[in-house]
Amino acid sequence: MNSILNILIDIASTPAILVALIAVLGLGLQKKPISDVVRGGIKTFVGFLVVTAGAGVIEGSLAPFGEMFQHAFNMQGVVPNNEAIVALALTKYGTYTALIMLAGMAFNILIARITRFKYIYLTGHATLYMACMIAVIMSVTKMSAVPLVLVGGLALGLANTIFPAIAQPFTKQITKNDSVALGHTGNFGYALSGFIGKYVGNKEKSTEDINFPKGLSFLRDSTVSITLTMGIVYTIVALFAGNDFISKNLSNGTNYIIYALQQAGMFAAGVFVILAGVRLILAEIVPAFKGISEKLVPNSIPALDCPIVFPYAPNAVLIGFLTSFVGGIVSLFIMIATGTTVIIPGVVPHFFCGATAGVFGNATGGVRGAVVGSFIHGVIISFMPILLMPVMGDLGFQGSTFSDTDYGVTGIFLGKLADMGGQIAVVAGVLAVLALLIGLTVFGKKKVNETKEAA
């Protein structure tokens, strides 16, 4: 008897198998043929192991980077990359992540059903990553398993309802209709950019009237852009660390520049591997969630990934990326000058989130709105991780961290509550946000108060 129990516990605590079982459940609920169910379960199982393998590759390239950075500048440098930090976290918090993701999707459907916020968050990888961060922060509170999954899931469900809602006034302006919402982990930053654009710019002077060089569009390929930027960053750090240090301590005699380029390529390779794994996992879970939510929530609005707004303003995409990145570099120098932890501008968040912030800024403030909005966005996603890392427990010291604004808002909100009042404060805080949504539904107020969640 005991041995059966042990096997069950082993299954539940092996994330790869647990996530696969969730996929099997979702496919079974949709009455898919047995062959589809088996295929889905196996692909999810392998997908999870692929993500774990990618984590090893990333870790392998970040470790020497940390040493080089430390030796060169005598301080700690952190590369914010959601894929990297999620993969590292999943090896330890995978089971909670899987369960919180499942509970979070259920709560999202429930909240959309009972409140007037009808947003169903369909961006699977964003949900997975957010579940992972919540799992880490909740684990720090030492809550026991069942409440941890329920409270964490509720927090995720709330985040997945609130963030599309705060961006919606601007998303509507961009897409010109109210039938689709934005569901990405930078929504807070996008709404802020749209808000800033309204005050600093003039939406008549759109970015789309500029003729932009087409030659920059290859940056859209994330493997290319990650390798290029990381290559530059690794090379600069290697130049400062010097050939002596690197060939003696890290590269086993290989030339330091060649070693730096190889490690930068390894980082990009790790992200590539992780993305492949995430794709395998989501392919089975997201359609199940979509199917279930369509049946359960009438008039629901799907919240989708950020590139849905890119075609509305391709120039703003490039302007947003570049100015957000400049914001990150300016922040880097401020950090070096003030001696805090140094956040190295990560190309993926500055690209996807910066670009989207650009589109939002342009919608309300034209060229000036896009530039100012995404520059401020770039500064925010550089400084927010400094506040976020301390609440991440032992994951705060891994050389990588979460970057997008919504991780910062959610993570700092939950983490500060945990710091101040432990489990009780976290539960109270999450329930208060839920009560707020229900209150707004009952009293029919017009707007969601975005500052509430940020506080």
């Binding site: 569009s217 989708l304 990934d305 590139p307 890119f310 993926v348």
Partner: protein
Amino acid sequence: MKMAAVCGSGLGSSFMVEMNINSVLKELGVTGIEVAHYDMGSATPDLADVFFVGGDLADSAQHLGNVVVLDSIIDMDELREKVKAVCVDNGLL
């Protein structure tokens, strides 16, 4: 025959378009078409017979050969029309 949707990171948008293509095909009653999604870096011409991309990626996707550009990747009417045209061209409708 195989159709594919492609976006920058191959996670969210292309997956959404893939699911939408699937529902359009079901609506049209066309069977036997495999649909997949890729990121711009992994997509190669041999992976599918036709690739769907958003207008912003039209330039980056030229190497894929048979590309259908969507003005809006969330517009089901546009997608329906363009998927239907592909099916008609290939003698499936």
